[in-house]
């Protein structure tokens, strides 16, 4: 079991009750927590902030299209092993010829197979009691990865390749495992079955205000209100790619470099919209729907 007290977020991270309960449940039951939700809803932030706030060791495995369980757990470095064994031969030959210069194996010894085992984040997390293990964006992985992972996670034990060393963790010391997904592909049912599932819904405007406040405690209330109003208006347009929390924060960061009156004016004019809207089609749609009223003098009156 991981550290099992309830965590309700920190001064930098707003963790709603449902998420904190799901996270707590996962840790108590020793199951991975699978978080899905729109991009920018703070999925990855949860374990990062949790680890930081509680001062716990964190191991991250960012998943990509070439991810394999080998990288995740541990891998035997054959290349280094062969190189070092060849170096030993070379050094022996040099010795014979009375040469002093020797090639170094960097402290590794070919007698010690474990010197060549490259531990991945999983092995490291399992050898550190009560740590946090983040598997980020699992939906980017090749199709077989989640199932392979399932096998690795369901046993609290890893056998290191070649060396045969065993890394084992008791249920008490299990790391808290958090898996995030952007839902770009469906995960296997069996995989989901072994996880506690939580879907982060997009925050309501009031919650968004608190989130912004956590990030920019000094931001002016008026500015934040205007920006959030505009932001939710944009999200209602049904864009191909709706702006996310992260983008709102970036936009505000840019906006806050101006004076208050100017900033509100700029927000109304959708200045720096590139921070929020990322495709050409969407920009056009926004222009059609929102900017008419703002940009062209008397634009709204034409209808």
């Amino acid at each position: 079991m991981a550290e099992t007290t309830i965590w309700n977020g920190s001064d930098k991270y707003l963790c709603d009750k449902e998420l904190s309960q799901a996270f707590h449940m996962a840790r108590v039951l020793g199951m991975p927590l699978l978080i899905e939700g729109e991009p920018g809803t703070g999925k990855t932030e949860l374990p990062l902030q949790y680890a930081q706030d509680r001062d716990i060791d964190l191991f991250v495995y960012p998943v990509g299209s070439k991810s394999s369980v080998e990288q995740f757990v541990a891998k035997f470095d054959h290349v280094k092993y062969l190189r070092d064994s060849q170096i030993e031969v070379l050094n022996a030959q040099r010795d014979e010829k009375g040469l002093d210069t020797k090639l170094s194996t960097g402290g590794r010894s070919t007698d010690q197979l474990k010197d060549y085992v490259m531990q991945g984040p999983a092995a490291k997390a399992y050898s550190t009691p009560h740590s946090v293990l983040l598997i980020d964006e699992i939906d980017k992985a090749p199709r077989e990865f989640p199932n392979d992972l399932l096998y690795a996670l369901s046993h609290r034990k890893f056998v290191m390749p070649e060396s045969g060393d065993v890394i084992e963790v008791s249920e008490q010391d299990m790391p808290a495992i958090v898996i995030t997904s952007n839902r770009e592909q469906e995960l296997p049912t069996a995989f989901k079955g072994r996880c506690i599932y939580h879907y982060i819904s997009f925050p309501a405007p009031e919650v968004m205000r608190d989130i912004v406040r956590k990030h920019y405690p000094k931001a002016d209330d008026d500015i934040v209100q205007h920006a959030i109003d505009m932001f939710y208006q944009l999200r209602q347009l049904g864009l191909e790619r709706s702006p996310s929390t992260r983008e709102l924060l970036n936009w505000l960061k840019y906006m806050m470099t101006f004076s208050k009156a100017e900033t509100i004016e700029r927000i109304k004019k959708l200045d720096g919209i590139g921070a929020l809207i990322k495709t050409q089609d969407d920009v056009r749609r926004v222009q059609r729907n929102l900017m008419d009223d703002v940009k062209r003098p008397g634009g709204a009156a034409r209808y």
Binding site: L29, L82, E184, Y199
Partner: protein, 443 residues
């Protein structure tokens, strides 16, 4: 405990089985479940596997645990208003309290939900209660009390029932309660045998749960209110032809056509070459296996107006796929059937001999989109041969048909073409099956 809950869930379309009950046992042992709200959160975490499960799940939960039956598309508030559980609770809640009578329905429902979700659920005690029930003899005659209030007292509060007795088999419970009620002749308070207030009933409001948390409390009720009626939390119709709503669901299934490998291999020629250059020091050279590129050919029937709408949807779908997954996509058009040519452009002016398609890499995946319905004479031998050659060459070929499957057997040409191609409906489900079928075939 809650043995029939998985069944209820399944009837709402949420996958649930006995494993969730085993997990519940574990959660109880570890003191996770203290309120009804905790139960809601627990089952939500363990049964829900997709945001679109949340709606049906919430319906199932309210039906089973609270006795509120939410109809399709109905708001939770409305369902609660007509539920007996709520009416009984309301009667109790309002009794002799004028302040409370001023509250409007919305506030009352909020109050009700908050109470439901924060109802302390001391499972350990309930389990003990189960023992009590076992030892209890339902046929015990009532010790004829002084007053014979009789029938009125038999109206047990449904809310108690909801929160209290669900741990035993429902049917058995109902029988038992009937028996007890037959015997009961007066009001009871406390005790463990009679139906009434107090006693082992774990229903109660206020006070922190024993040794645990109650974060799921009011939050859960609020969540449930948001969920009801929000289409985001209900499954899209994956049996409908692809449209704007379910296109993303389809896209997720299309990911299955992408060939991915993460293997590395030992490049022997390069290892030897390098080894010789280094004077006999052979260091293995490992290379990434090159990723198979996703290669797709679309052959679309864009004759007839009936196809227009679907063509747009299909093109949007594959265009999205192309931008998202970097693929090699070629699109051709035909009218009703093919003979020697297909067309490069939608207006069917630029002919392309089918030999050109046939000369391509056999690893291409071919999607033919059309209703396969035409006059029988159009699908003559020449055409059948042409289709046959495509099917022969590209092992991963499927036909997607926007016409509902039940009409396929009516048209003779559809039947004929089904002998050549695997045909699927043009729905997210159909496409998913098509892709699963494609992947199985080892060509």
């Amino acid at each position: 405990m809650f043995e029939s809950f998985p069944d209820v869930c399944r009837s709402y379309g949420v996958k649930a089985d006995v494993r969730s009950l085993l997990l519940l046992q574990k959660a109880i042992d570890r003191n996770l479940i203290n309120t009804v709200g905790d139960l809601y959160s627990f089952f939500k975490g363990s049964l829900v596997k997709d945001p679109t499960d949340i709606g049906p799940y919430t319906q199932a939960f309210y039906d089973y645990f609270v006795g509120v039956d939410v109809g399709a598309g109905e708001r939770l508030n409305d369902a609660i208003e007509r539920a007996d559980t709520f009416k009984d609770w309301l009667e109790d809640f309002l009794q002799g309290d004028d302040e409370r009578r001023k509250l409007d329905m919305d506030d009352l429902i909020n109050q009700f939900l908050d109470e439901i979700h924060t109802t302390t659920y001391d499972i350990k005690r309930v389990l003990d209660g189960e023992d009590i029930l076992k030892e209890d003899d339902p046929d015990r005659p009532d010790d004829d009390g002084a007053g014979k209030k009789g029938d009125d007292a038999n109206k047990d509060r449904l809310l108690d029932k909801a929160a209290d007795y669900r741990f035993v088999d429902l049917e058995e419970l109902r029988k038992r309660m009937e028996k007890v009620m037959e015997q009961q002749t007066r009001d009871h308070e406390g005790g463990s045998h009679w139906i009434g207030t107090g006693g082992v009933s774990p229903y109660g409001n206020g006070g922190a749960a024993l040794g645990g948390i109650r974060v799921g409390g009011s939050g859960g009720g609020r969540m449930a209110r948001e969920v009801m009626g929000d289409p985001q939390y209900y499954p899209v119709d994956i049996d409908a032809n692809i449209n704007d709503d379910n296109i993303d669901a389809t896209l997720a299934t299309l990911k299955g056509v992408i060939e991915e490998t993460n293997e590395r291999y030992l490049d022997i020629p390069l290892t030897v070459k390098e080894g010789v250059a280094q004077g006999g020091l052979f260091l293995p050279v490992e290379m990434d296996k090159t990723h198979d590129k996703l290669q797709v050919i679309l052959i679309i029937d864009n004759g007839g107006y009936s196809m227009d709408y679907y063509i747009k949807a299909v093109q949007a779908l594959f265009k999205k796929m192309k931008t998202r997954y970097q693929s090699d996509l070629e699109t051709y058009y035909f009218h009703n059937t093919i003979y020697k040519y297909v067309y490069e452009d939608e207006r069917r002016t630029r002919k392309v001999p089918i030999e050109r398609i046939l000369s391509k890499d056999p690893n291409y995946r071919v999607f033919i989109i059309g209703d396969a319905a035409m006059a029988p004479y159009e699908l003559h031998e020449g055409s059948i041969i042409a289709w046959g050659r495509i099917s022969e060459k590209f092992k991963k070929t499927v036909w997607l048909n926007p016409v509902s499957e039940k009409h396929w057997h009516i048209t003779w040409t559809t039947t004929m073409l089904r002998k050549i191609f695997k045909m699927f409906t043009m729905t997210p489900r159909g496409i998913e099956q098509a892709i699963l079928g494609m992947n199985k075939k080892k060509s």
